[in-house]
């Protein structure tokens, strides 16, 4: 298969991500899509480390590290300043993890999107506070072990549906993407760049360290997340127009769960319950897209 992805690299070797890190792969493809006329706002997340310590940087675009909860606000400022300088060409991107998006940075994100600031907010989602050592976030899925949901206290709450929350803002463009589907990811990043106003990309980025998986299965597991409908690929324009980009054939969720150490405690009964939730969510998404379940 030929990939319709640029050869140009805007991320250098020598970054300090763990082997198989989905977040590093996500950045590499994203930058290939948006190019080097881009400024990245980087609230605290794994990428605060991956980008490299002072005085080095692993990306060939300007980066401003920012406080954990400020991704939406700092980007608003960068955009406003560029506008005042007459620079409407440069793309402003906030690149945040799930903690900085779903939890602590949610207020600033919601504020920026309500104001329809002209920027792309990317959440690379590894489903827990991985940089601090695998603590649960509101993005951690039902069933997961983390260091703050250990033993029998594994997470028994659903993952927050962040895309739908953004869609409720009537954001001009919101989409999910996945490191195992680079062409789709690149297309969505380019599309986001071409739209004025706020854009949200939710990129599924596997974490070998936190998910207790071998680093070489990072892409495979990310792909199965789509194939099992656990992480559907879709996009929403102007808060109303839903397009589902990939329709998997029936594939039980257990195929996804059995490969990961973080789910090893789950029983068949738990798996049935999870399957039911995933089926419900998929049916709901189909209805929103005007399709029959």
């Amino acid at each position: 298969m030929e990939l319709n992805v640029l050869d140009e690299e805007y991320m250098t070797s020598g970054h300090v991500a763990c082997p198989g890190c989905g977040a590093a792969i996500a950045m590499r493809f994203f930058l290939k899509a948006v190019g080097d006329k881009t400024i990245i706002v980087l609230p605290a997340c794994c990428w605060s480390i991956i980008a490299g310590p002072y005085p080095q940087s692993t990306v060939k675009v300007p980066v401003i590290h920012s406080a954990f909860e400020t991704g939406g606000a700092v980007a608003s400022g960068v955009r406003a300043a560029l506008d005042m300088k007459g620079d409407t060409e440069t793309t402003v991107v906030t690149w945040a993890g799930d903690g900085g998006t779903f939890d602590i940075g949610f207020q600033a994100l919601s504020g920026a999107v309500e104001r329809n600031e002209d920027f792309i907010y990317v959440c690379y989602d590894n489903e827990a506070y991985m940089n601090t050592g695998i603590q649960r976030s509101s993005s951690t899925p039902y069933g997961a072990w983390t260091t703050t949901t250990p033993g029998d206290e594994w997470k028994k709450l659903r993952k927050k549906n962040i895309v739908e929350v953004l869609v409720a803002h009537r954001i001009p463009y919101a989409a999910t993407a996945n490191i195992a589907f680079p062409e789709d990811l690149v297309r969505k990043a380019k599309k986001a760049q071409s739209i004025k106003g706020s854009k949200f990309l939710h990129i599924f980025a596997s974490c070998p360290t936190g998910w207790r998986i071998p680093s070489e299965s990072s892409i495979k597991i990310a792909r199965i997340a789509v194939q099992t409908n656990i992480f559907p690929l879709y996009e929403v324009e102007d808060g109303v127009k839903y397009t589902i980009n990939y329709k998997p054939k029936e594939f039980p969720v257990s195929e996804y769960f059995k490969l990961q150490g973080r789910f090893q405690h789950l029983t068949d009964e738990d798996m049935k319950h999870i399957q039911k939730m995933v089926d419900e969510d998929w049916a709901l998404l189909l209805r929103k897209a005007g399709e029959r379940p």
């Binding site: 605060s48 920012s66 939406g72």
Partner: protein, 385 residues
């Protein structure tokens, strides 16, 4: 041209004259009039600036960290709870060496809810790396905001211009509002040393190991120290154009005074009257107004206070478990001088309680009539509860 304006409008006029490019703010009483004036100026084209209507004070300052890092002149204003919410980013702004200017209208911290003057909100931010100036009247507010940009941009540090709730923010006074051309002569366009630039991509604020962090902090310390002399240079330049200056501190009759009252903010104006009255009755009393709080002008304070027998530091703020904050700082400044006055500390006017001439005169007599302070901090006018 002199106009009768509110303290808040004096701030807004100064921001306009400083040709600020982005204002980012969240409403909080008693700061609100400042941002209302500025919104109006942005909306009607009086200013060529963007007004970011963010969803919190935290985001207000975060947005300015973005604007200033992109190389444009930036302003915000807040009070009390709003400043407390900004705390983390106050450190960030100075650590990132961004010359943001903020007008901080002193407001008491809750609970209980209180919108009136109390300096504890800004003084509690003394370790955040911001230059802090405390103002006495509307003219000083306007002049200080303009000077704040000049000073902050020279050393790449943020500046807080502090004014009393209501007594200053909402009080109308005649204020000379200078011509744009004169302000342009004093304040050149902002030329940042570093900025986000896709032609010259750099990373700002990356992980710093113990190998470099300490040197970066030392650089901030050196920049703060430099402010002490630069403040005078900036005042010289300002005076040459506008014929006004204030001083990091202002001594009034300190040379021959046996007792010196030390004040900041609007209490100073009341105290000037009290000192005049006492002097006319033969009392050897002086007044020291402290304007620049960060960096703290230690040498100037030593020079002006050491000849007195006693000083009475008047604090409209309090650090629980310690004392009034100006009293702490002044005692620390004096402790290494062999000849130093006894220092009396008085706590007054918290949460907006009036500080009258009588209160200040009581302080004078208490200082004079007691050989040593009865307590480290004497709370004035406490009622039976």
């Amino acid at each position: 041209m002199k106009r009768v304006v509110e303290g808040s409008q004096a701030v807004a006029e100064a921001v306009r004259l400083a040709r600020v490019n982005v204002i980012s703010a969240y409403p909080i009483t008693p700061q609100t009039h400042i941002v209302e004036f500025l919104s109006e100026y942005c909306a009607n084209g009086t200013m060529n600036a963007r007004f970011l209507r963010v969803e919190s004070e935290h985001s207000a300052l975060a947005a300015l960290i973005g604007t200033a890092s992109t190389g444009v002149r930036s302003f915000t204003a807040t009070s009390g709870q709003g400043l407390a919410l900004m705390h983390e980013l106050l450190h960030w702004a100075s650590g990132a060496r961004l010359p943001i200017v903020m007008a901080e209208v002193n407001r008491a911290l809750a609970p209980g809810w209180n919108i009136w003057i109390d300096q504890t909100d800004s003084l509690a931010q003394r370790d955040t790396g911001w230059i802090q100036m405390y103002c006495e009247h509307g003219q000083e507010v306007l002049d200080s905001v303009i000077q704040a940009y000049r000073l902050g941009e020279l050393v790449s540090l943020p500046v807080m211009v502090v004014l009393d709730a209501f007594y200053l923010s909402h009080t109308y006074e005649p204020v000379d509002i200078p011509e744009q051309e004169l302000v342009d002569r004093f304040l050149p366009p902002y030329k940042p040393m570093f900025q986000l630039d896709t032609e010259d991509p750099c990373a700002f604020g990356s992980l710093v190991t113990p190998n470099a962090y300490m040197e970066m902090r030392h650089n901030i310390a050196m920049a703060m120290e430099e402010v002490l002399s630069l403040f005078q240079d900036v005042e010289n330049e300002f005076e040459a154009i506008f014929d006004r200056r204030y001083g990091a501190i202002e001594p009034v009759g300190c040379d021959d005074a046996e007792i010196i009252l030390v004040t900041s903010g609007t209490v100073t104006s009341t105290c000037r009257q009290v000192v005049d009255d006492l002097r006319s009755r033969g009392e050897k009393v002086g007044l020291l107004k402290v304007k620049l709080f960060r960096p703290f002008p230690v040498d100037l304070i030593r020079q002006n206070l050491t000849s007195a027998k006693k000083i009475a530091v008047i604090d409209r703020n309090f650090s629980f478990g310690a004392s009034g904050i100006f009293a702490q700082e002044i005692r620390a400044a004096l402790c290494n001088t062999p000849e130093r006055p006894l220092s009396f500390g008085y706590v007054v006017g918290l949460g907006g309680r009036d500080v009258t001439e009588d209160v200040l005169e009581d302080i004078y007599w208490d200082t004079k009539n007691n050989e040593v302070p009865v307590k480290e901090s004497i709370w004035m006018g406490l009622q039976e509860v």
